[in-house]
C-alpha cells in the first residue's frame, strides 16, 4: 500500500508541476460550465444536473487520453521505467500507483464542479440523492476511462500513440453505445451492456445498482490486469 501511495504521489506532483494538467482542467471546466449555464438558462422550471453529467461523460472521453497518455509511455521513453521496475515494488503496485495518480487529477476536477450543485442549492431545494449518485456514476465512468488510458500507455513508449490509442478504444465503446441505441433487439441490449456510458443513466436518476457496479469494476480490473501483463512481458521479450 505504501508503495502504491509513493508512486501515486509522484504522479500527482508530476501532473501539477506541468501546465498540461492545468490546461486540461481549465478546458474541461470551461466546457462543462458552459453546458451548465445553458441548462440553467434554458430550463428555468426544471433543472437537472444529470444532463450535465451525461455531457461530462462525452467531454471526459476526449480529455482522459490527454491525462493518461504519459503515465507509462513517458517512463519508457525516458528510461525511468528501469528505476521503477528494479525497485522492490510489484508490477501491480506500479499500475495501481499510476492509476490512482491519474485519478487524482479528476478528483480535482470534480471538486471544482461542486460549484454546480452548490449553485442550485443556493437558489432552490434540489433532490440530493440523484446528485450524489450522479457524482458516483460519473466518477466510475472516469475510472473506466482511466483504466483504458493506462493500458494504452503501457503498450507503447510514445505518448502520442498512447493518446490516440486510448482515444480510439474509448471512441470504440462510444460507437458501440451509439449502435446499440439504433438496434431494437437482443444485440441492442447486449451492446448496451458492453458500452461504458449507458451504465451512467441509472446513477443520474439516483439509482445505485450493483449490476452497473459489477460491470464497471470488472471493466477496470480487465484493463488494469492487461496493463500488468504488458509490463511483465518486458521480461520475456
Amino acid at each position: 500500500m505504501r508503495n502504491i501511495l509513493t508512486i501515486a504521489r509522484r504522479e500527482v506532483k508530476a501532473y501539477f508541476a506541468s501546465w498540461m494538467a492545468y490546461a486540461t482542467i481549465a478546458g474541461f471546466i470551461v466546457i462543462s460550465s458552459y453546458i451548465f449555464f445553458v441548462i440553467l438558462t434554458q430550463n428555468k422550471q426544471d433543472v437537472r444536473l444529470q444532463w450535465v453529467f451525461s455531457n461530462m461523460a462525452v467531454t471526459f472521453l476526449f480529455m482522459t487520453p490527454l491525462i493518461t497518455m504519459r503515465l507509462l509511455a513517458e517512463e519508457k521513453n525516458t528510461g525511468t521505467i528501469e528505476l521503477l521496475l528494479t525497485a522492490p515494488v510489484t508490477d501491480w503496485q506500479v499500475v495501481l500507483g499510476k492509476y490512482f495518480g491519474a485519478l487524482s487529477v479528476f478528483i480535482a476536477i470534480f471538486a471544482l464542479t461542486l460549484i454546480y450543485p452548490l449553485t442550485i442549492e443556493h437558489y432552490a431545494n434540489p433532490d440530493r440523492g440523484p446528485i450524489l449518485a450522479g457524482y458516483l456514476g460519473i466518477l466510475l465512468v472516469v475510472c473506466c476511462y482511466v483504466s483504458v488510458g493506462l493500458f494504452s500507455s503501457s503498450v507503447t513508449d510514445s505518448q502520442v500513440v498512447a493518446g490516440f490509442m486510448g482515444f480510439g478504444i474509448l471512441l470504440g465503446f462510444w460507437i458501440v453505445h451509439w449502435v446499440s441505441s439504433s438496434l431494437n433487439n437482443f444485440w441492442g441490449e447486449f451492446l448496451k451492456t458492453i458500452a461504458i456510458v449507458p451504465h451512467l443513466e441509472d446513477y443520474t436518476e439516483g439509482l445505485v445498482d450493483t449490476k452497473h457496479l459489477v460491470y464497471q469494476l470488472s471493466f477496470i480490473f480487465f484493463w488494469l490486469y492487461c496493463s500488468v501483463r504488458i509490463l511483465e512481458s518486458r521480461k520475456w521479450r
Partner: protein, 315 residues
C-alpha cells in the same frame, strides 16, 4: 554475493548472452569490459530483475532472481545506462522518491539522502531541478540514487560516461571507496577505467565470456609486444631482413603505398625499445626516413586479439 549460472538470453533470433557463469564475492569490485552489444547491459538487467533470462539463473545476496525477485531488488542499487531521472523533480525530491520506493524507513531517509549527496558530491545542485543540471551532475545524481538505500550490491552500467576527466577521477575514487561495505559490479568499454577500479575483470564479447582475470594479469596478457610503425621513401631489397636482425625484433610486416614509400610494422618484446636502432638503421642505409610512430593497441585490436587468442586456446 552474486552467483550467475549458465545465463542465456535470446532476443528473437539474436543471441545476446550465451551460457555465462560467474561469481562475485562480498566486498569485491567486478568490472565488465566489452564492446557495445557484448551483453554487459543485458547481464545487468537480468541481475536487477528488469528482464528474465531465456535460460539459466542467478542468485543475488542469497536470493533467487525468479523466486525472490523483490528481495533481490531490495538488495541492489542500480544505475542503468540511461540515467533514469525525472526531469521535473529537484535533486533532493528525486532522491527522496527513490528512497521511499526502496523502502528506506522514514526516520532514516533524511540522513541517507544527506549521506549520498555528500558521497556523490552533488551538494551544489541539491535543490536544483534536474532538467537544469549539467550532464556530469545528472550522472552523479544517478549514482547517488543507486546508493540511497545503502544496498549491499551496487550495479553500475557505464558509471563514468559523460563526465569530464576530473569528475571521472572523483567517481572512480567513490566507486573504490564503496568496496568496503558494498559489492560492486560495473561495466565499461574503457580498459584503463576497469583496470583502475576493479579487482577482477570479466571480458565479454558477443555474449560470451572471453576472459576472467585481474587487471594486472590482463594487461600483461594484452601487451606481450609493442609495435612501431616506420615509413621510408626507398627501402632496399634486404630491408626486411635487416630490420629483423635488430636485437629484440620479433616480427616485421610490410605495406607499400602508392608513391613507392614502404611502411614497416615492427613488433618487439615488451621490455625492448627498438626505436633508436630502427632509426639509425634507416638513416644509415639511406632509405629516407619519413615517419616513425609507436602504435598503441586500440580497443578494437584488444578485443580482436583477445577473442582470437582465446579461441585458439579452446581449439
Amino acid at each position: 554475493m552474486i552467483e550467475v549460472s549458465q545465463l542465456t538470453k535470446r532476443y528473437g533470433e539474436n543471441l545476446a548472452l550465451n551460457n555465462v557463469s560467474f561469481k562475485v564475492n562480498k566486498g569485491e569490485i567486478l568490472g565488465f569490459l566489452g564492446p557495445n552489444g557484448a551483453g554487459k547491459t543485458t547481464t545487468m538487467k537480468i541481475l536487477t530483475c528488469f528482464m528474465a533470462p531465456t535460460s539459466g539463473g542467478a542468485r543475488v545476496a542469497g536470493h533467487d532472481i525468479f523466486e525472490e525477485s523483490l528481495d533481490v531488488r531490495r538488495n541492489i542499487g542500480y544505475l542503468p545506462e540511461n540515467v533514469p531521472l525525472y526531469q521535473d523533480l529537484g535533486v533532493r525530491d528525486y532522491l527522496d522518491y527513490c528512497a521511499r520506493l526502496r523502502g528506506v524507513p522514514k526516520d532514516q531517509r533524511e540522513e541517507r539522502i544527506d549521506d549520498v549527496i555528500k558521497k556523490a558530491r552533488i551538494e551544489e545542485v541539491e535543490n536544483t531541478i534536474i532538467r537544469k543540471c549539467s550532464k556530469g551532475y545528472r550522472q552523479r545524481v544517478g549514482i547517488a540514487q543507486a546508493l540511497v538505500h545503502n544496498p549491499p550490491v551496487v550495479i553500475l552500467d557505464e558509471p563514468t560516461i559523460g563526465l569530464d576527466p576530473h569528475q571521472i577521477i572523483e567517481t572512480r575514487k567513490l566507486i573504490k571507496s564503496l568496496a568496503k561495505d558494498h559489492t560492486v559490479v560495473l561495466s565499461s568499454h574503457i580498459l584503463p577505467e576497469v583496470s583502475m577500479t576493479c579487482e577482477r575483470v570479466i571480458i565479454l564479447n558477443k555474449g560470451e565470456i572471453v576472459a576472467v582475470d585481474t587487471p594486472d594479469n590482463l594487461t600483461q596478457k594484452l601487451q606481450q609486444s609493442q609495435k612501431v610503425q616506420i615509413q621510408v621513401r626507398r627501402a632496399g631489397e634486404d630491408a626486411t631482413t635487416k630490420i629483423q636482425d635488430i636485437e629484440g625484433v620479433t616480427n616485421v610486416g610490410t605495406a607499400r603505398t602508392d608513391r613507392g614509400a614502404v611502411t614497416f610494422t615492427v613488433e618487439s618484446a615488451m621490455d625492448k625499445d627498438v626505436r633508436e636502432d630502427l632509426a639509425s638503421l634507416a638513416v644509415g642505409s639511406g632509405w629516407g626516413l619519413l615517419e616513425m610512430k609507436q602504435i598503441e593497441l586500440s580497443l578494437e585490436q584488444i578485443f580482436l586479439q583477445l577473442t582470437t587468442t582465446e579461441e585458439g586456446v579452446n581449439n
